[in-house]
């Protein structure tokens, strides 16, 4: 689960990770008041969407309008908010369709002496979280990792202990941070690592982290993703979820216990198991088609879930055909057949339907489909299924 920058900064403040004062605004008038409340000569108005790259991104019908604006008066803050709120912001991470800006964060400015990048992710190979710091703050870290990986310093840590003091000293030495700034950095890093563990983050990224003219380390940005599997023990975080930032069909699917990801193609697929679902997309593409989605109905899918899955697939206006690929293990072919027949009655198939069944109760499942009125193109194996579904829309 992702959250907004202003929410992440509130959590940072509570966790002792230093941030600047800021106020969230949902209207231009609120942004004006926010500037006055901060009472500083300058502030930054930042569009709040879940994607990164906002500073270099632009508003859909206004290519000059960036997602992050420096303002020097309450009127400027109001104007900047008006130019962002309700508009579509396109960044390198949103894709060409962009994301609607529903709120802005008005944050006080600061006197920046140095900009750094800081992030914590799970290092899968080492099976430990790793704190990464780079002198290349404010730029795309993926690019740094690609071109100059030596500029990213890494320290793994034990979640039960957190980052050790000597590790912070090593990092500061390499970064050339000393004196009061090193003390501030030590507290900052320790607090961030603790936060990562306490809230079960999957990723915490701050780009940039800055050291101001007084030697204080501050988080100027905050991008947090939580481990969905651990939300049961961090229930307070669920209130921070913003459904506006998520694809409605994906939310609907998740509510039914289905794993769904929307794609750009026109051949919908319904599969059991994540690996098989991915491979089904792959084989559609291999035979010249374009998959419309990833959909894993899971191992223990019941008739209602599968029927709901069909509704979601058929609600996609791009859907020109459906491929059902089931290798019954725990999931039985008869369950899928029942759901298919049910869905044809309640939802109605107006596009070609190719079905490949294999595994548990396959004969019974096939017979059920043969005996029904559902217009099904049956396939004997995966290749046959992929070829038939591609041919069906040719």
């Amino acid at each position: 689960m992702k959250i907004h920058e202003f929410q992440a900064k509130q959590l940072f403040r509570e966790a002792g990770v230093p941030v600047l004062e800021g106020v969230v605004a949902r209207t231009a008038a609120e942004a004006k008041q926010a500037f006055e409340k901060l009472g500083q000569p300058l502030a930054v108005v930042k569009a709040q969407i879940h994607a990164g790259g906002r500073g270099k991104g632009h508003i859909a019908d206004n290519p000059e309008q960036r997602g992050v604006v420096l303002v020097r008066s309450a009127d400027e803050a109001e104007a900047a908010a008006a130019a962002l709120l309700g508009k579509t912001l396109i960044t390198i991470q949103t894709g060409p369709e962009g994301q609607t800006v529903n709120q802005v964060f008005v944050e006080q400015g600061c006197d920046i002496a140095r900009e750094l990048y800081m992030g914590i992710v799970l290092d899968r190979a080492a099976a430990r979280p790793v704190l990464m710091v780079s002198t290349e703050g404010g730029v795309e870290i993926e690019k740094v990792a690609e071109e100059t990986p030596e500029l990213i310093l890494k320290e793994h840590f034990d979640p039960a202990v957190g980052i050790e003091a000597f590790q912070v000293r090593k990092l500061c030495k390499k970064l050339g941070i000393s004196g009061p700034a090193a003390r501030s950095a030590g507290k900052f890093m320790a607090a961030l690592c603790r936060f990562y563990v306490e809230k079960d983050c999957a990723m915490a990224e701050i780009n940039p982290v800055v050291i101001d003219s007084e030697g204080r380390m501050l988080a100027l940005d905050a991008k947090i993703t939580f481990d969905d599997n651990a939300l049961f023990r961090n229930k307070e975080l669920l209130e921070l979820r913003d459904l506006n930032e998520e694809d409605p069909a994906e939310v609907r699917a998740a509510d039914s216990g289905l794993s769904y990801v929307k794609l750009d193609g026109n051949i919908a697929c319904l599969v059991n198991g994540a690996g098989l679902a991915m491979s089904t997309m792959d084989i559609i593409k291999y035979h010249g088609g374009e998959p419309a989605n990833f959909l894993d109905v899971g191992g223990g899918a019941n008739t209602e879930q599968v029927t709901e899955a069909f509704r979601i697939l058929l609600a996609d206006p791009n859907c020109k055909a459906v491929l059902v690929n089931i290798f019954g293990g725990i999931a039985r072919c008869t369950t899928i057949a029942t759901a298919l027949i049910e869905a044809s009655k309640t939802v109605g198939f107006n596009v070609p339907l190719v079905v490949r069944l294999e595994g548990t109760e396959v004969e019974e499942g096939r017979q059920m489909l043969a005996d029904s009125d559902v217009d099904v193109i049956t396939a004997v194996d995966l290749t046959d299924a992929a070829k038939k579904v591609v041919a069906a829309i040719a």
């Binding site: 991470q93 799970l122 899968r124 190979a125 099976a127 430990r128 979280p129 870290i141 993926e142 990792a145 690609e146 979640p159 039960a160 563990v197 079960d200 999957a202 481990d227 969905d228 599997n229 651990a230 049961f232 023990r233 794993s259 990801v261 794609l263 599969v271 059991n272 198991g273 994540a274 690996g275 098989l276 679902a277 991915m278 491979s279 089904t280 997309m281 792959d282 084989i283 559609i284 593409k285 291999y286 998959p291 990833f294 894993d296 191992g299 223990g300 290798f327 019954g328 293990g329 725990i330 294999e358 595994g359 548990t360 194996d381 995966l382 290749t383 992929a386």
Partner: protein
């Protein structure tokens, strides 16, 4: 021979009184696995699926001589269940549970790797030596005793591969579902070592997917240390970056973990890579034929 489990393996089920634990204990028993008991805290002294239930794994081991376990306990308690099995001296721990917090696995992983025990999973179908011992949720009847060692990060995709190798009359020595999470107890390299030394295994099929770098690391290992024919398949060539494809571990992040990179690394190591999931069995055959 086979790897990890055989007809002598004595198996417990942790979470046997839950619906999934009970259902699959029955399935394993029917397959012929030596199921010897179950564990559910607070339900010791009862019976489930005709087997004695114990409060702790330690008791269960003392009473039944179990050396393997399959874990079906809910995600919040799964890490604890794994550590309990480890503490009781269980040799093979298969964690089927999906949805274990990844930081719990950081803690568990370190302890498991420091021991002699083998953890399979979590978020996996389990493991099976056809005709001898099935520990987990895979449909037993698609398997056939034979010569291919199959290992995979995905459940149903493994069934697909097993089905194909059975149809080609190659059969399987032992099939292991590694699990779809970012941190799992056993990786490809651990199993390559075992398959390489197992006389029954004549060829190895590894089924990978996008995310992480386990396949690349395995490819480098194969190049140096594996003499048997190896075939592979990677799921997710069409997966978009930044989106989790069902499995918690199946995500391309920061441009890393793409199928293209993985396929290139595998091919570079001389591994036959199946172009589509329908060609996994054929790829194994080709790998065998190539070595003559």
């Amino acid at each position: 021979m086979s790897i990890l489990v055989n007809s002598e393996t004595r198996v417990l089920c942790q979470g046997i009184t839950g619906s999934a634990g009970g259902f699959h204990t029955r399935g394993c028993k029917e397959y012929g696995t030596k199921m010897v008991g179950g564990v559910t805290p607070g339900k010791g002294g009862q019976t489930a699926e005709g087997l004695p239930v114990f409060d702790t794994v330690e008791e269960a081991v003392q009473e039944t001589g179990a050396d393997a376990t399959m874990i079906f306990v809910p995600p919040p308690f799964a890490a604890d269940a794994i550590l309990e099995a480890l503490d009781a001296g269980i040799r093979i721990i298969a964690a089927i549970t999906e949805g274990v917090p990844v930081l719990d696995m950081v803690r568990v992983y370190e302890k498991v790797r420091a021991s002699d025990a083998v953890l399979i999973g979590p978020n996996c179908p389990g493991l099976i030596t056809p005709g001898e011992c099935k520990i987990g949720i895979m449909p037993g009847y698609i398997h056939q005793p034979g010569k291919v060692g199959v290992m995979s990060r995905s459940g149903t995709l493994t069934y697909e591969a097993v089905w194909q190798t059975s149809s080609l009359k190659l059969g399987q020595s032992t099939c292991v579902g590694l699990g779809g999470d970012p941190i799992v107890g056993t990786n490809y390299i651990d199993l390559f070592k075992l398959y390489e030394n197992d006389p029954q295994t004549e060829a190895i099929l590894m089924i990978g997917e996008i995310g992480g770098s386990a396949e690349e690391e395995a490819a480098a290992y194969v190049k140096e240390h594996v003499s048997k024919p190896v075939a592979a398949f990677i799921a997710g060539r069409t997966a978009p970056p930044g989106k989790r494809m069902g499995h918690a571990g199946a995500i391309i992040s920061g441009g890393k973990g793409t199928a293209t990179e993985k396929v290139a690394a595998l091919e570079d190591a001389g591994i036959v890579v199946a172009p589509t999931p329908a060609d996994m069995g054929a790829a194994v055959k080709e790998a065998i034929d190539r070595q003559g």
